[in-house]
């Protein structure tokens, strides 16, 4: 009775276009809500270390003295906690993921503005690595 009951699905698959998303050829689908990676607007950061404390994996290290905000991409689980806890909303989650890397260097360091003066003393700091 149930011989070849898969037939219907097989023929449906053949008659339709393949379901494949053709990823590298076509860009990846991703939902707006997808938590890809944490972004920081270093300029807004006040190095309050709230994010560091709330991070369940200690991916964030904020150095108050040297004024750096550092994240280890190979440690972050993109849980969004830091984003929620940041008082200045300088953190956000992007729906683009971190690219694979060939050396274990997930750490990105951003310089944040020095504490007292809140001037627009633009430090070029969009960087070190990626």
């Amino acid at each position: 009775m149930g011989l070849f009951s898969m037939t219907k699905m097989v023929f449906r698959s053949v008659s339709r276009k393949p379901a494949t998303l053709m990823y590298p050829v076509r860009p990846a689908k991703s939902a707006a809500a997808f938590r890809g990676r944490i972004l920081i607007e270093p300029l807004k950061c006040i190095a309050c270390r709230k994010c560091e404390k709330s991070c369940p994996t200690q991916a964030i290290t904020v150095d108050v003295k040297v004024r750096t905000w550092q994240i280890d991409r190979l440690r972050c689980i993109i849980c969004n906690c830091c984003v929620e806890d940041c008082p200045t909303n300088c953190l956000s989650t992007e729906n683009i993921y971190t690219n694979p890397m060939t050396v274990r260097e997930g750490i990105e360091i951003y310089t944040v503005p020095p504490k007292p003066e809140r001037k627009k003393e633009t430090v070029d700091n969009s960087k070190t690595e990626e």
Binding site: T20, Y23, L74, I77, I78, T98, P100, T102
Partner: protein, 145 residues
């Protein structure tokens, strides 16, 4: 010219992952991602494999297993560590039974971050690994001569 990059066969081993990355690796095989387009087959057998996909981190019991599998993959081979567990121990870094990322045991060629890594990231990671595979092959050939 090498055909390695056109026919990388993978073997997947779940070290001590939470399954999150694991099922995403499997998802790569399925219609939506279909990595067979690149000639990738999940062989399940180290002796046929070129690419070693590891998810999860090293622990007491699986360290030998990972080493064994690695040793049974014929040269040239690459290792892709998938998910932050595999790259650094991830959330479980501080657990008593986690010894850290895969690179504490075997050399890792590509690190794929994410918790869990998305299938697209895994595809990216494997594609990146292919380049390394070709390099390794070239080196191997040079060594032969």
């Amino acid at each position: 010219m090498t055909y390695l990059a056109r026919s990388p066969w993978v073997i997947h081993y779940d070290a001590s992952s939470c399954n999150g990355c694991d099922i995403e690796v499997l998802a790569c095989l399925t219609p939506l991602y279909d990595i067979e387009r690149f000639g990738i087959i999940n062989t399940g057998n180290p002796k046929h494999a070129d690419v070693f996909l590891v998810t999860g981190s090293i622990n007491e019991q699986n360290k030998e297993v990972i080493k064994n599998i690695y040793n049974q993959i014929p040269e040239p081979k690459v290792v892709v560590a998938i998910g932050i567990c595999a790259t650094s121990g991830g959330v479980f870094r501080e657990c008593y039974n986690v010894m850290g990322g895969i690179d504490t045991m075997i050399p890792v060629d590509v690190y794929v971050p994410g918790c869990a890594a998305r299938p697209e990231m895994i595809i990216d990671g494997v594609v990146k690994a292919l380049g390394i595979l070709e390099e390794k092959w070239a080196k191997m050939e040079a060594g032969k001569k």
